[in-house]
Subunit: 346 residues, 2 copies
């Protein structure tokens, strides 16, 4: 779907935190350095999972590295995040997880109880999500060569035969749904660092999206065109990638986007936009207008989906752009994340 | 195959480098902390890959974290190692790789050229091994929170229908084959650190074992009972795990084990035993005696396998023990690796 004639290049001399933020710099790194070398058509669509056809089965494969700081935060921890992140990348590809792999990079000197707590969190999250940890690896590096614990998970899933998803299915008139309030995870982790004089009654939204995806497939699969979990870079970045890759415009109605007061308040104080804040338990879906009522009702019936909402629409022009309409009749363009306000959020 | 009545426990207060060395402490960590929490029968055999049956297909899944220091060494680099390590874990399970996933944890401040060189090494190794990188992830952590670059790969493979492997197939009388000289990788990396006043004309053996496995399956699959790539902890650790899990004794003939002079010399100077040194391109195979000639000839026909040798035998007693016979008629017990002479070798 991408124009090969405008291949980005990567000329930055040094890798910086911003290259891991999920925004513009990340995309330049991936498209300018990784993709030309790996040269694999399976990577080109840059979806959350790769889909492979093996003897008639559609397998989804995905991996994610977790370097969140601190390791524990209200509502979750790195162990849970490592399961949910990978299960969710499979889920938004329409795949039910078959098995997870987990690799641990541990800094020497980490108290064993910290490791035990995270293995336990990972095991419990996997059980709740109905998936087994089928393999793993552990490496230990010297004190000062990591930050306590990093976890990398990989997942294999079987794509639901009802799922036909991809940017190629997105067309003008399609509606944009979100499963619930945005920004909870990023703001929770930011506040948990204790570097800001801010407190809020807020917990991470980390959870498996599988129930949302199953509800959508059950209620509206013929009209379900695309899904994504807006993690690093938030809803703004996920929709910018969609607008670019599908060559469409996306218009959002600001007043329709669910945001908790605590998130809105923290964002105002910190000069952040909730649209760029990471989520770990929200689903974006693009749905044919004929199926939008059924899809929205299905999301709202899932526990945790009560605030699911239709937040915008796909339009033909201006292609590649995301625009937010404010309640006062104004409009602003929402670009991809440029800086990195929140490093190591997942 | 393990006695659940002698479940090891893990009481160490702190994680140390030795817990990542692949020896006794690693096994205690895995069996005492990870397995009881993850409680998954697929993990119990502790093989290099998990095998899952999906709609009649046998899929092999595996993951490995790579934290080798230095990133580049004679004969290879972390990028190559990350492909070969995972391809080899699939190969020794009798599986042909279908796709690899690669996650990068990058320390801020890493020169982009270093990253580019490793992505290139990874891409080339994957191409040579006939497997695609189908997905990935990149995270950046602050300067001082990693050591340049860590890579975690995961792989999915399809188990060859001719492969029936596992400790349950190993029986007294079976012969132990090795594909070539041992210890090259570990000693090469150790010397590449430049901390010792030692030089040797030696390169890592890092390579894909797929050609060896295909040769064995083609020539001797009915007699092929078990395979393993003896990486961390070396041949001694791999065979100790086999002896324990299969409840057999293993006797090795010291003079039959191929070791290059440079490796032997460095080991003598450093007080190390080549049997404990990591390999990244050697295959251990346990073969029925009726098939051993065919299997050995097949290994020797593969380029790089010219020095393949039969190095020992499976016996009934003393169960769980690995014994080496010296050319002078002596015998010594080779236990699992206890300390960690060579941290971060892979």
């Amino acid at each position: 779907m991408r124009e090969t004639s405008v291949q980005p290049t990567f000329h930055d001399a040094v890798i910086e935190l911003v290259h891991g933020a999920g925004g513009k710099a990340s995309r330049r790194l991936i498209e300018g350095l990784f993709l030309p070398l790996l040269a694999n058509p399976a990577l080109i669509p840059l979806e959350d999972s790769a889909i492979m056809s093996i003897e008639g089965l559609r397998l989804a494969l995905t991996t994610d590295a977790f370097v969140v700081k601190p390791l524990r935060f209200p509502g979750g921890s790195i162990g849970e995040l490592a399961v949910h992140g990978t299960v969710n990348d499979l889920a938004v590809s329409g795949a039910r997880p078959l098995g997870l792999l987990a690799a641990f990079i541990v800094e020497a000197g980490l108290p064993s109880e910290v490791l035990r707590a995270e293995v336990e969190a990972l095991a419990q999250a996997a059980r709740r999500a109905g998936v087994s940890i089928v393999g793993g690896d552990t490496k230990v590096v010297e004190h000062g060569k990591a930050d306590g614990l990093y976890i990398v998970t990989a997942g294999v899933g079987l794509v639901d035969p009802r799922a036909e998803l991809g940017v190629h299915r997105v067309r003008p008139g399609d509606q944009i749904l979100i499963s619930g309030p945005i920004g909870d995870h990023g703001i929770t982790v930011l506040l948990a660092r204790g570097e800001l004089d801010l407190e809020a009654d807020l917990v991470s939204d980390t959870r498996a999206l599988t129930p949302f995806v199953e509800a959508l497939l059950e209620a509206a699969s013929p009209g379900l065109h695309w899904m994504r979990d807006p993690t690093r870079g938030g809803v703004a970045t996920a929709l910018n990638e969609l607008a670019r890759d599908a060559r469409v415009a996306i218009t959002l109605a600001e007043e329709a986007i669910p945001v908790r007061d605590a998130v809105r308040g923290a964002c105002e104080l910190l000069g952040l936009d909730p649209l760029y804040i990471a989520n770990e338990g929200q689903l974006l879906a693009v749905v044919d207008p004929a199926w939008v009522d059924a899809a929205l009702a299905a999301l709202q019936r899932v526990p945790g989906g009560e605030q699911a909402a239709c937040i915008g629409e796909v339009q033909e022009q201006p292609a590649g752009v995301v625009i937010v309409s404010t309640p006062y009749g104004g409009q602003r363009v929402i670009d991809m994340l440029v800086g990195d306000p929140l490093p190591r959020i997942c």
